[in-house]
Symmetry: C2
Subunit: 189 residues, 2 copies
């Protein structure tokens, strides 16, 4: 049953992709390794041929997931007639993003759980936060870098909170209102 090196590397990527999605959808602790491997189309026993522990796959999936999210955000085209900031904010606080945590921002999906971790998992999270902040800060090219970064700090924090609360609340109208108000307030600034 041995697979070629190319296939093995491909499998590893598939596990990481599935891990990011399952973790973001259900939470880290709530996702078992069997579930994760099944989502990648494998049985659980093979997991340790690719990773040393659950902690390692969490750290790697978080790092690559955050990287992918940042890249998508950077690569997404700015609609004509809109500022970059408005495009970022409206995409981040969209109904689609709210309803699809698996393919969305890992910080919003996992932020609460990441607070209780440490080591390389926590480092990955922290680095991802900084990268997203830097990307948002680029939307203020005419502003002094430190001011732009300070603004970006607030914008990202506020977006994470609004998305989380919009996902938590049970009333759909309230959920939509949270997203709308955050969009308005953040784009206006």
């Amino acid at each position: 049953m041995k697979k070629s090196k190319v296939e093995a590397a491909e499998t590893r990527r598939r596990i990481l992709k599935a891990a990011r999605q399952e973790f973001c959808r259900n939470g880290i602790q709530a996702t078992g390794l069997s579930e994760l491997m099944a989502a990648a189309g494998l049985t659980h026993g093979g997991f340790y041929k690719h990773f040393r522990s659950k902690d390692q796959v969490v750290a790697e999936a978080l790092a690559s997931g955050l990287c992918a999210f940042v890249n998508e955000t950077e690569a997404s085209p700015v609609p004509p007639g809109k500022k970059g900031l408005a495009a970022i904010v409206e995409s981040y606080l969209s109904i689609e993003h709210r309803d699809d945590p698996a393919h969305g921002c890992p910080l919003a999906a996992l932020g609460g759980e990441l607070v209780h971790t440490d080591g390389s998992i926590r480092e990955s999270a922290s680095r991802g936060f900084t990268e997203l902040v830097d990307h948002i800060a680029k939307q203020f090219p005419r502003t002094k870098p430190e001011v732009a970064k300070a603004r970006a700090l607030f914008i990202l924090s506020a977006m994470v909170g609004a998305l989380t609360m919009a996902r938590m609340v049970t009333d759909p109208a309230l959920s939509a209102a949270i997203l709308d108000q955050a969009k308005k307030s953040l784009v206006a600034s």
Copy 2:
């Protein structure tokens, strides 16, 4: 070993208090019932004399914890020369609150986990969010109620996000900057 009714009721309150603190400190899933009962000064077996399941204690601890937090926020004196909003925001985004999740806002401590729950737990969380929003909205007495509520929606979401990110990030300077920027931005509005 039977205790009087008064003592039993007191024990129940003690369990709920310990539950709120342990859940907020370590997370809901990460807190075992043995750990919880030990924090209340009891052994784990007695748990089911007070609650039907872990879910029930989570729902009740969340409801009473949120209620207690709202009451504390409402009762805390406004420092002379400050507006009510500024007092709320500065207290919520203080270093003390960041470093003491056990006695702080359950929404910030548990928001990420609450997204994955349902039933009465989710309802409690949602109700607590609305109560906090209403209290913040009261700080805009001269504004039309719906506008005040809309502002409060954003302020609370942003505070939850900023507190969570400040707790997640590994760099202390960055953590403090997140809190500071959020304070400035929210009080200025």
